[in-house]
């Protein structure tokens, strides 16, 4: 057991996977000599040489190349520096990666990973602070994971690399420096399994990525008012752990769903709709959606913090659901 930063846990997973499997390679902008702008790929180039490559700024082709390289015997891991650039990858994901698994059946597998990071709150501006989760989670044939703890950062990264299909790993710029225990023998975390971050009986706070931390803080605050909130860390955005959601709702009968992408047609909308589909009868009040305001993310601090989901907004939503 060791305390590790989230970025270090990801790095450990990459090291381990590259050591175990010579077909794994890592590529992306500034991932080699510099070790990645968030230092997630640090030391890999030194250890694995040409299997770690700095690339030109060519997200669109690089993603398409990850798809086809994966079809032909390798396990590419591509870093897309900011989730804001994921639109450049979507043609490759939705028109290429998505289709072959079904169209060509067992002829090919596509074991590639796209790593990216989203999230606001650090003054990076409208083009470097978005969480475009819904764009990615919408695509059939992809798996999408979003670890929040360092242990899951390692576990889900290992699982993503070993998965026979495409997996997008959504990291978060404000998690890289968070610390947590990671077991020495930490293996893959099963994709498609939520984590019960906090047990509660009155309301379910269902969250993804860094919003889990905000939900935990909200739960703490609600506890002060005598409200017992359960916090579910979804960990996997697609495929969804439906059982975890319905099980929690059966107990609490109230829910707030929290995701840092925009609300409209966002991932939070899917969560609300999923509950509509599968737990309507358990609901004593409408599910509350908490998401980034549907507008560009401004640079200036007071504006940016007015736009992103906060503990206060989660608490308020919970109180509204319980009113």
């Amino acid at each position: 057991m060791a305390m590790m930063r989230y970025a270090e846990a990801l790095n450990a997973a990459l090291h381990e996977a590259m050591t175990d499997d010579p077909t794994v390679f890592v590529f992306g902008e500034d991932v080699a000599t510099y070790g990645g702008v968030f230092q997630v790929t640090r030391g890999l180039w030194e250890a694995f040489g040409d299997r770690v490559r700095d690339t030109p700024i060519s997200e669109q082709s690089l993603t398409a190349m990850a798809v086809s390289a994966a079809m032909t015997g390798t396990r590419p891991i591509l870093e897309i520096m900011y989730a804001d650039f994921m639109p450049l990858t979507l043609d490759a994901l939705v028109n290429q990666a998505s289709v072959y698994g079904y169209l060509w059946g067992d002829q090919v597998t596509m074991p590639f990973v796209v790593r990216t990071q989203g999230g606001a709150g650090l003054g990076t501006g409208a083009q470097h602070a978005k969480s475009l989760d819904a764009f990615i989670a919408h695509i059939p044939g992809l798996k999408v994971v979003a670890p929040v703890t360092p242990a899951d950062a390692k576990g889900l990264m290992l699982a993503a690399i070993r998965d026979p299909g495409p997996v997008v790993v959504l990291e978060h710029k404000r998690l890289y420096n968070t610390r947590g225990e990671v077991a020495d023998e930490q293996g893959p975390t099963e994709i498609g399994r939520a984590r019960l971050a906090r047990s509660g009986t009155d309301i379910s706070l269902i969250a993804t990525s860094r919003m889990v931390l905000e939900a935990e803080a909200a739960a703490e605050q609600l506890a002060g008012s005598g409200i017992s909130a359960e916090v579910i860390d979804l960990r996997t955005l697609r495929p969804l752990d439906l059982g975890a959601i319905t099980q929690s709702l059966a107990k609490t009968h109230h829910a707030v769903v929290i995701n840092e992408d925009w609300g409209f047609c966002g991932y939070a909308a899917e969560l609300s709709a999923t509950i509509m589909d599968h737990a309507f009868d358990d609901l004593d009040a409408p599910v509350e959606r908490v998401a980034t305001r549907d507008m560009p993310i401004p640079f200036s601090e007071p504006l940016e913090s007015a736009v992103i989901p906060t503990v206060d907004r989660i608490v308020e939503a919970a109180l509204k659901a319980l009113a």
Binding site: T23, F25, R51, R53, T55, P56, S58, Q60, S61, L62, A64, M65, A66, V67, S68, A69, A70, M71, T72, G73, T74, P76, D91, A92, N95, Q96, S98, V99, Y100, G101, Y102, L103, W104, G105, Q107, V108, P140, G141, A151, G165, E181, A183, E190, I191, G192, R193, A194, R195, L196, A197, T236, R238, P239, L240, D241, L242, G243, A244, Q247, S248
Partner: protein, 337 residues
């Protein structure tokens, strides 16, 4: 180091040429049969024929080894046939039958057969380019004796991914051959309305790679250019851009309303029919009877394949597990460690 390939000067052998001729006739017959089926209302969706362009796909694939990869476009029939796919299963796929290479799921634009290294037609213009480039990266990583061939059109050469892929391929000296099948049009727009330069092989210089223009209606010239480029790729010398000039004799697709191709232009190109030209050479070498025999049996085989495919059953729908939105049931939510 792998052994240097046979110098293209010795090849194609006469036997290889006969076989390419046969495959061109297979392709042409297939295209014509598809035209007939379409007119009779027995096809579905648009079909993109490559009549007049057969030498490109057939010559290029003949120059490859079986383990080499090819990616192509929405107009890939010559490549499918050239790479050794069974015409009957190709037709079955085009007709949406269970017996098609992809069980009718893919249709004519997306046929894939990994066993043949036929890594897909592709209906996203330009997508064949990074696809082959990524395969070449895989080959390089695995240190395999393989090359990847990207076939794409003059329209596709204007896409952003073309630029990105060529730059990366040249930078990393990837074992890929870029075969630009220049048929004068991108859909209905003449290349002069799409490309800022009339000759596209000049763009190779923008990436520091060799580029050459060839007569795409000469199957031997195509074979030799691709063999040379594949040799370079295999020797670790990186990519090559080959611009094969040819012409699309039929419309863009079966839904093309026409009206934009000058009849003068069509006539000029009809006179350069790749099959007629190939035949002339072969008749000189082998006599008319032998060549006609090859042609007739090729055509008959396709006609039989079409008939057989048409009698094949349609697939039945089965949901696709790997596209699932929900994970399988779990007993419980995992407890926090």
């Amino acid at each position: 180091m792998t052994a240097a390939p046979a110098t293209p000067q010795n090849r194609p052998s006469l036997d290889e040429h006969v076989d390419m001729h046969r495959l061109m006739v297979v392709t042409r017959t297939l295209e014509e049969q598809l035209g007939v089926l379409h007119k009779a209302g027995r096809t579905r969706g648009p079909i993109h024929r490559c009549d007049g362009q057969e030498a490109v796909g057939v010559g290029a694939t003949a120059a490859l080894d079986p383990q080499d990869y090819v990616t192509t476009t929405h107009r890939g029939h010559a490549i499918y046939i050239g790479k050794g796919l069974d015409p009957r299963r190709v037709v079955a796929e085009i007709l949406g039958r269970e017996t098609g290479y992809n069980g009718g799921r893919a249709g004519h634009m997306l046929v894939g057969s990994a066993a043949h290294g036929m890594m897909g037609g592709n209906a996203i213009v330009g997508a064949s380019i990074p696809a082959a480039t990524g395969m070449a990266l895989s080959i390089q990583m695995l240190r395999q004796d393989r090359v990847a061939l990207a076939v794409f059109g003059d329209g596709a050469a204007q896409t952003g991914i073309c630029h990105e892929s060529m730059n990366i391929a040249a930078l990393w000296r990837l074992p890929v051959v870029f075969l630009l099948e220049h048929n004068e049009y991108g859909l209905t727009a003449h290349h002069s309305a799409q490309s800022s330069v009339p000759d596209l092989h000049v763009r190779a210089a923008a990436y520091g790679m060799p580029g050459e223009q060839i007569d795409g209606n000469d199957v031997v010239a195509v074979f030799q250019a691709v063999a040379r480029a594949a040799g370079r790729a295999r020797r670790g010398e990186g990519p090559t851009l080959i611009e094969a000039r040819t012409y699309r004799m039929e419309g863009f697709s079966t839904s093309d309303k026409g009206g934009y191709q000058a009849s003068e232009e069509r006539k000029r190109w009809a006179a350069r029919d790749p099959i007629v030209r190939s035949r002339t050479t072969l008749v000189d070498a082998l006599g008319t009877a032998r060549v006609e025999d090859v042609e007739q049996s090729a055509a008959e085989a396709v006609i039989a394949a079409v008939a057989a495919a048409e009698a094949d059953p349609y697939p039945r729908f089965v949901p696709h597990a790997a596209s699932a939105t929900h994970a399988g049931p779990a007993d419980r939510v995992t407890e926090d460690a």
